[in-house]
Symmetry: C3
Subunit: 280 residues, 3 copies
């Protein structure tokens, strides 16, 4: 009865495949007092997004949607990285089918987070490039610790942020600044991100960031949750519809691009550098 | 000859049903010097929008379009309310047909105001929740008296602002702030509304508000009225087209929602509270 | 392989008709050190856009795309006019076919500049009304000398900025301000344009303006040019698609409007005034 097209939108979202509450790379904690769930990414050292982390994120979002939580706060167990984005190791020297799986699961996480009717906020307690920024901008609110970097730097890596991600990004920044940041592959400092509107508040510690996220979710305390959720989904409906229309083509495009000799070579050099630095 | 698709847009607007210049709940005054018409809502105590007020608004807009006025200023006869939005009395304990009529006439007022080629401005001399904010944001310019509240608070009432209204709202505020305000059902103080861009100027009295609206309309003095009107309609064409596509479905959705037991109960409690407060 | 729909977009752009590097009304200079090309309009006294200048602009853009330049800076040889817009002399007392040609070539210049994958910036060293502002807003960045005027003043001339131009303009300014400026036919001073976001920087001399444009283009030094170009075209894809859909109808609309007795009369009066002032 209630705005049936929106309910259909929600129903159309891909079902999450894992329903267990004990996932490996994410944890969910619900605050007894506030009823707000905190979803923590925990894949050391930098929460790089392999297929397992992407599946665990979907599972945790689904769990929070079903456990009557009043909202979702996304954060990281790392002390200096929110998420480094897709895991290059999984995309190097592999077959097209694997690349298709990686991208499909990234899409699934994005739409699960962008399209949830729950209030969402990101406590960005470290760097958030590429896929890290994707998660943060899918939320409704962003609080970030000082002196870190955030941005969609795909162009710097020789790849292209997908159109559905651009649309979400342009919903946060003014259009002119969004285009410029995307073409530059610009990484914003916390302060620059705050001034541009890419993050809403700055917090000196992770605890303070989570508190500010909870305060944002608290602004919905007197709002009917069903009306709130449908309002959010109606506001985002055009982007969601366009995503659904292009998602399959987008997987094919990404797989073709990421398997190209040129991009594989960039990945190889990147991984070689990582090894030499003794990191990861 | 002149941009025929736009002229068709104009033609497609529903004809107003009352052509009499003497309406009951609205008055129209044309300033001899400036040629600008002031449309005043006068349904004490709070200009709540029943079907009659909605019909009278359409009739007055149509009258002003036809009397060669140079622009339209919308204001209220009340000293502290611009308009309180839809009249709950008309929607409580009634049949679906009545709910359909209420919503259809609200749509008709919105498109008459949003889609008029005349310059429009709102002198917001009091509170403007829900349908009051709808009227104000359909205009091209907004001047508001201090210490009142304005916003689309539908979510707080358990209902959902329609998509065409969201689109108009997102044309006034940055997208990120528009989504947040809609999901919160946020009421802005005059000062907050000014800082967010939701109102353009603050004026201490109604007279000053009307003067500032007239000054805005005066900025078009040297602009060819036909070119101006077509420019406005072309800029608003995408929203107008989407409204036309969904208007019928939107009436059905609203009637189903407003007749639900849940929303009827909210209305009943609201009206009970009004009675106990001795208001209205 | 790389995002085939975008490559198709690029391919669909009309081929430029003149390939000679020696054009009459424009010059191209490539800086040896930076690899950035400067395209200078040189049709005294005010760079009014006749068909020849429009063809020469297309030819020069195409030349710069093909000569491996790292970016394009658009500027003027005049000391006080960037470009005065379309040449009224070519549109007065002429036949519909000529009007169709003028508008088609204006469209061709706009899409060539708006849709190039190269980084683009405008060094606006003088007034930029109408078609001058069109060129500037098709670029990705704008630097302007003080005390000049810029804007889409079509409404003041009794005509209507085309929908594709409005879309580009609304990508630079907030939507609310874009609508207001378009309906007013507003000309912004350099300072006003800077405050509104219509220009990005102010520079006291042409040399400084060109330097600042080069610095902007330099921000792409470490970005893969192919990824950058595809990112830009994907961000602009919706506007480009809508332009392609309406471009033919838009030519017909303009020719009908510009050949009307009313608009021809305005043009006649304008040209008479020019003659009397001894200008041009």
């Amino acid at each position: 009865m209630l705005h049936s097209n929106l309910l259909r939108l929600v129903a159309r979202r891909p079902p999450s495949r894992l329903m267990s509450t004990a996932t490996k790379l994410t944890t969910v904690e619900v605050n007894d007092k506030t009823g707000i769930a905190t979803l923590t990414m925990n894949r050391p050292p930098v929460n790089s997004q392999n297929v397992q982390l992407l599946l665990d994120l979907q599972s945790s979002i689904s769990e929070i949607e079903n456990n009557k939580s009043r909202g979702l706060i996304l954060t990281s167990a790392s002390s200096n990285v929110f998420s480094a984005g897709l895991d290059i190791f999984e995309m190097y020297n592999t077959d097209v089918e694997r690349l298709r799986t990686v991208w499909t699961e990234l899409q699934n996480v994005w739409i699960a987070l962008y399209g949830t009717s729950l209030p969402t906020a990101a406590a960005i307690n470290g760097h958030a490039p590429a896929g890290g920024c994707l998660l943060a901008t899918a939320c409704e609110y962003r609080v970030m610790r000082p002196n870190f970097l955030i941005g969609l730097n795909e162009a710097q890596l020789g790849i292209i942020a997908p159109k559905w991600l651009m649309a979400g990004f342009a919903g946060v920044l003014p259009k002119r600044l969004a285009e410029r940041a995307l073409t530059q592959g610009r990484m914003f400092t916390t302060q620059e991100a705050f001034e541009a509107g890419l993050v809403d508040e700055i917090a000196s510690t992770k605890e303070e960031a989570v508190e500010k996220c909870a305060a944002f979710i608290g602004t919905f305390a007197k709002v009917n949750p069903l009306a709130r959720g449908l309002t959010k989904l109606q506001f985002r409906a055009d982007n969601i519809r366009e995503f659904e229309e292009i998602r399959e083509k987008d997987v094919a495009d990404f797989a073709a691009l990421a398997s190209s000799a040129e991009v594989q070579k960039v990945m190889g050099t990147y991984l070689e550098n990582l090894k030499n630095k003794g990191k990861k």
